[in-house]
Symmetry: D2
């Protein structure tokens, strides 16, 4: 279903070519005055067409708030928001129902919803649905800041190029705020340059590349989360897999932990002044589902964009024969940079939800 | 919290040194006659002390069913089960509250529950709590088989040694059943041998190693799952992170997808007789949260066991000073083999829950 | 929170004087083509200003569907809908925060949300929020009809005047459809006349009256519902208490059962042709939380409208002194007739949700 | 399903003739030391065979705590408890599957679960399952007292005899504590005597009587609860309908509100010293789903016991013919007195759950 969260509950609606997309945010504390410019800024980071490395399609994601704010402050009622879809040109999408695009949800959506599935522009599976997620996340990010928690992500990897990783045990608010100011959020600008070259190469080849986004939350108190099935990992993973193209979620050292020895992976506790800290933070700030007070570190694997301009093999569902298709239009060769604010938004929503419980 | 699932709901209870551990399984279809020998077999695969490569501690995990079965058949009422804890020797655990073990939940549990946290043997965070999970999963595995779905996992990697990976698009029931019969479930017995050597080396070094478990479900129909936040990935990840020591969950190509090009990662559809299939299955059988009918492939990263015999640095929470500790007792240098049936159990529970919805 | 249902999930948003109110309906089966004229008709029955016995305020509840329908058919994506609020005149509501209206939610909302609560027109507690409930319910009513289930309610009582009650064990589709065609749905038109006289008397006295709505669902199969906490009664009651002014919910004989003997209250089973039926239906079609196949009968007590024109005592929250207030404007002396379609809508949503599970 | 609550989650299991019944309580604050004598006392009030007016069957409801308590204090892990069923004599219950008892869940359970339904002693629908509810409720009652909230109920009515009702706006802790000390909790002992006579008359006639239980919670702060579908009424009703034999739930004036004028039903606010109070409390302490700080008043209608010794008409499900049956054994002619602690327990659980959220 399209609802995220327990105490802070976000419901997303819309399809790429419906009259509108939007969201309802229930459970926000009353008396909160969101900075709407920052909301716009986060949404702008997600929007396509902002940079040379992203998709050329232009969307005007102007959210209209329909309820929940009185004189710019939350009143306790759900905040609802809609964004009109302007770009509903009459291109023929019917063919996509007959010859499903490889690695798109077209095929599985038709298996679930039948012929009534709205295939236009990816329907409800369109990346465009992440715009309302960013809107809601922008509220959460600000509420977290009021509680002393900063959330920011960097592009850990694109294609074969890795960013330098910070010290997970020591990454701090200043480093994260610096990331948030960058249009292409990496710690190493050289790595960033190389990543953009990889994206450009993929574009030239009518192809696409994926990557890894690593998101941090610093300032979290110890003791947030629940054991077993409502732990920080469970809740964050359940949320982050809601972002299209996410193929993996891991914490701290993640899959690399599998190759480490215990003596290497274990994070020795140590005092940091009067505060309990640890020398390393391979755990990514969570032990047994509960925060340790060290930075939360979550890694998100993003697959290469499924939409590429190359001819691809597929099937004709009508004739039940193998065939091929070319997806027309200009495609975003790498959604990873634009997915960064989405990962931040969803992380913020999940973390705030757990803190409000 | 300690409850998993929507329509099929499993509640786990107990601590390592409480009188008992157990579970309640609500929502099982009535009239199901579980093969209790197979339930025992799955639980035995998880139990420590069965093999040279696992922990020497012996547990007698004899489950007693208290309700829900009449003449061996489910009657519609919740199935409840308890396992008595016999091994409650009076070792002094109080010290662990003062000097928390690195990378254990001791510290975070105390941050959450305070001094009343039951630290003995890891309390509610003990790996022993996976025994009732296996019990419940054994029911799910059998119910899935009745629906034509087989679930089985192999050890994909331990330390630096990788098993051969099957063709994700073609892995079938026979291969999975062969895995289920192996005490050390790998496709390549040579790789398995090398893995066991790595475990043995870690034991000699008073250290531990981690690994990756890859779990498959074949026979799933297309169309299972929901978009966005209730997709197959969301639900499986939320469940699998409930298993202690899991640090990452990914699907199909997982984090490797981040390094692939779209033209390489996309799975071209093709006809397999009259059935729609695909040439590759990098997606791991899920697109947009919904099953495609191809094998479901989920990868689970397991960290090296936190309990090692080496001296480790930690803090004294009372004096607020750095100190060190040695965890006495014989430790399991690698829980990965024993975690295999747990991953299968949890995968089966999550998949069945989605199919029942 | 503002979300109803498990598999069929309705989220309501808006305040009386926000730019809009609306709802999101998630979980509708795809391929359903709602008859939008019938949707309008149900909404019109709820809307004020339609009849002499109801409020003179006119609302133009024109719903705009923003997503989820393609060419008039559900596509699997959530159906979202907004109704613009036109009637946002600049009356001064601030006084109501200082001198709360007796038996309104003003006071408790301020205790919960503080001074930011949107008091204008009752804010999120306004009866106007039942318009989107009727919209969603209209979908559910049609989907239930496709499954052979008819839902309709009559006004069981207003002030001291009772309608004749049908035989709960024999009430059928024809009787219910006759009710649905009546602007003032009662079985006895004479009783209806007397009820309207009571309403008129209350209006003359600047006062208000309440009543009881009894809602039926015929055609339900036996076996719907769950034991204990997810029974038909639990789910219906949890839903129906979401309607403003509802003070009680009971099933079949309801509170009258408390005065009956077992030999009188028990419903003797009997054959009705080849079908199991019962001589009486004091149980209201539910035993142990599960439907029996007999008509579902639920009674809903509606309190007299809190807004009356008489002077009333209250407190001044600023000076902490007793004071009095007069609520200006013309008030609806009895919301019971307009609540009938809302009760039908919510009953239909809850019943369909349970059938879809 | 058999789970109640969000933050404080109680799962009930067992059948009347299974090896055991029990519960799991998840979400209790750690460091709570329940007074187990008071737990026993509450369970004893519910147990049959304690008084002349109740059922002659004797149950020994000795709960064994299996987890969650260390040295008598909650440790954060779920508290689990089992009660062994001793009274499992081999009476033949198979006949009840063929000729279902009027107004029992036998018939609907068989419609849902088929022939595997455990009909012995009412299976999972047995009133015996309220014993673990009382156990869990006893924890909640003590935790509420620590928060200054007292919960107690009186028998408002049995057959035609009504107890005197207290002033809903003024009922206080002392009055409630006096109720809790009474074996037959009524305000008027004369009314209590007459009620017992009605019960005795019903017993003589091999019949049964029902009644109304009215439960109070005093000391609740204003502002507890949520609007719309998670209000105090919604949550309490959803919980209370989980008690077998409950046919109606209402708040404050309840169904009588339907016959009142607004000017009579509205509760005028007034100052009580420096505290906002109201002259009357027809609302029962809740407005718009949120507590007002006045006493919470909830009324629960209990139907007459379905099990009576008289011959009753039913059907033979095998031959599909009308027939009759006599239910052998000695029956409780009125479960209302024994249901009082169950209503208190469930009210306490639901109220505490909302306060913990």
């Amino acid at each position: 279903m399209n609802t995220l969260g327990n105490k802070l509950r976000v419901t997303i609606f819309g399809q790429s070519h419906a009259p509108a997309i939007g969201c309802v945010i229930d459970g926000l504390p009353s008396g909160f005055a969101p900075d709407m410019e920052r909301v716009s800024a986060i949404m702008a980071r997600r929007a396509p067409g902002q940079n040379t490395w992203s998709t050329p399609r232009k969307e005007s994601d102007t959210p209209e708030v329909l309820s929940g704010l009185v004189d710019g402050r939350t009143c306790g009622a759900p905040v609802s928001m809609v964004i009109r879809n302007s770009d509903q040109h009459s291109r023929d999408y019917a063919g996509l129902k007959r010859t499903p695009r490889p690695s798109h949800a077209d095929y599985t959506a038709m298996m679930k919803y039948g012929d009534d599935y709205d295939v236009r522009g990816g329907g409800q599976f369109s990346g465009r649905l992440t715009a309302p997620l960013c809107f809601a996340g922008a509220f959460a990010l600000q509420l977290l800041e009021q509680r002393g928690v900063t959330v920011a992500a960097h592009i850990g990897r694109i294609a074969g190029v890795s960013d330098t990783a910070p010290d997970f045990a020591r990454v701090d608010r200043d480093e994260l705020e610096a990331l948030l100011r960058k249009p292409f959020p990496v710690f190493s600008d050289e790595a960033g340059m190389n990543m953009r070259m990889e994206i450009e190469k993929a574009r030239m080849d009518c192809d696409s590349v994926g990557g890894v986004i690593r998101c941090f939350a610093v300032g979290l108190p110890a003791g947030v989360g629940e054991p077993m099935f409502d732990g920080v990992e469970n809740r964050l993973a359940a949320s982050l897999f809601g972002i299209p193209a996410v193929r993996g979620v891991s914490f701290g050292a993640g899959f690399a932990a599998a190759g480490m020895r215990g003596s290497e992976h274990n994070d020795p506790f140590c005092m940091d002044g009067n505060r309990v800290s640890a020398r390393t933070n391979h755990a990514g700030g969570v032990l047994g589902g509960i925060t340790s007070g060290l930075p939360l570190v979550v890694n998100v694997a993003i697959k290469p964009t499924a939409s590429i301009s190359k001819e691809q093999d597929t099937v004709d569902l009508q004739t039940k024969e193998n065939t091929s298709l070319v997806i027309h239009g200009r495609h975003d060769p790498c959604i990873v940079p634009r997915a960064v604010p989405v990962v931040e938004a969803v992380t913020a929503l999940a973390v705030l939800d757990m803190m409000l419980e």
